[in-house]
């Protein structure tokens, strides 16, 4: 039980896929322009990562060593297609915004990475906890980046049809924050912040 909790927890900070393992960055930098996009992308990744981890862990004993990569990819691609179709059917505005990044989850290194490094070697419950933890770690970083970028780049946060923050009267939002350089600024600052906190704790 403790082991499972540890597997889950490690994904949040210590082995956070974005800030610590530094994988799956390209989609994270691209979709974190808005809070809403960040959340939908995050949930899609949690779903795909958890489901594929569970399935891969279940079949890990019958999968021949040589054919494991194609089999993992088939499993992952199936879940991604399920997410893709579901978003397209029930959340078309979000789907239009996320665009190609949903199908590209197939090649997101977090997912194949976890399948290869963890799920193919560990039992089902631990793999599920690992998937949930890493997915949640990914989503929370995406959410923080989305909040910072949307608020500073557009001066407001609009999510699920509601305006949550409105700071436009107080400053002229620098548009660069919702463009690519803004993603790098935000990501770099977050990484620096995490390093600083950890160094302080270690002392």
């Amino acid at each position: 039980m403790i082991q499972i909790w540890e597997d889950f927890k490690s994904g949040l900070i210590l082995e956070n896929p974005l800030l610590r393992l530094m994988i799956g960055l390209c989609s994270a930098l691209a979709v974190s322009t808005r809070v809403e996009n960040a959340l939908f992308m995050g949930f899609s990744v949690i779903f795909v990562l958890t489901c594929s981890n569970v399935i891969i862990s279940l079949i890990r004993r019958i999968v021949p060593e040589k054919a494991r990569i194609p089999i993992f990819i088939v499993v992952i691609a199936s879940f991604v297609t399920i997410v893709d179709l579901t978003l397209k059917a029930y959340f078309p505005p979000v789907y239009e915004q996320l665009g190609v990044w949903i199908p590209l989850i197939v090649v997101n290194c977090i997912i194949l990475g976890r399948a290869e490094a963890f799920a193919s070697k560990h039992p089902v419950l631990r793999s599920m906890a690992d998937g949930l933890g890493k997915g949640l770690g990914y989503t929370s970083v995406l959410f923080i980046m989305g909040t910072i970028r949307e608020l500073s780049g557009t001066g407001e946060i609009v999510a699920f049809g509601a305006k949550l923050f409105y700071l436009k009267p107080y400053f002229e939002p620098p548009k660069i924050m919702v463009m690519f350089p803004g993603a790098f600024f935000t990501f770099g600052l977050l990484m620096g912040l995490l390093n600083w906190i950890q160094r302080r704790e270690g002392r």
Partner: protein, 203 residues
């Protein structure tokens, strides 16, 4: 002897690889087929609504029309080879029957392209003309073809067919001072009628 055993082992391995991969793919395909079956009708409905929403103004061509707009993309490709200014072709269907077609195209105006939409009923007669974009025309003069003042001008086209010449000054009256813009609209309507006659009639 040993070589024979190696070959046998290799064959056995390959079969196992193939069979495992096949089973995984079959299961994945079943799952995807199920998702597809559930989401496909919803996606279709979403797309139908989107087309209707984006082309709301076309419904004005057929007052009282209740039904669906379907885009005729292949026909458009075909007709574009002859009429490069075509933008889109829609079929208006009500209870499974064609009520008319709407053709969007650009035609030469005074200071740039004039975008118009022509509605043609099942008898090949113009049901209505909409002028959508006159940003290139002189404000207050050429732009009248799109404005309320130009309504009588646009009304003249009603009931015309591909057999009518639609020469400005002879068959249709121009808006005074805006001969070139009027001519642009008239030639656009004429082109739409010709497209209808050669590509859409009867189908």
């Amino acid at each position: 002897m040993e070589r024979e055993r190696d070959v046998k082992k290799l064959l056995c391995d390959m079969t196992r690889l193939g069979i495992t991969l096949m089973i995984v793919c079959a299961v994945a395909a079943t799952g995807l087929a199920a998702t597809y079956a559930v989401t496909w009708p919803v996606i279709q409905e979403q797309q139908r609504r989107k087309v209707l929403e984006e082309n709301k103004e076309l419904l004005k061509l057929f007052p009282g029309f209740q039904g669906d707009l379907t885009e005729k993309k292949e026909l458009l490709e075909e007709a574009r080879k002859e009429f490069g200014d075509l933008e889109s072709i829609f079929e208006l269907m009500s209870a499974g029957k064609r009520v008319g077609v709407a053709i969007k195209l650009a035609s030469r105006g005074y200071g740039g392209p004039i975008k118009i939409a022509v509605g043609i009923d099942t008898e090949g007669k113009v049901a209505g003309v909409l002028v959508l974009d006159v940003s290139g025309e002189t404000a207050g003069v050429g732009s009248k073809v799109a404005e309320a003042e130009g309504a009588p001008f646009r009304e003249q086209f009603k009931g015309k067919t591909a057999a009518d010449a639609l020469r400005v000054g002879k068959d249709v009256d121009a808006i005074s001072g805006a001969t070139i813009s009027s001519r642009g609209v008239a030639s656009g309507v004429k082109n739409a009628l010709v497209v209808y006659e050669s590509y859409l009639k009867g189908g």
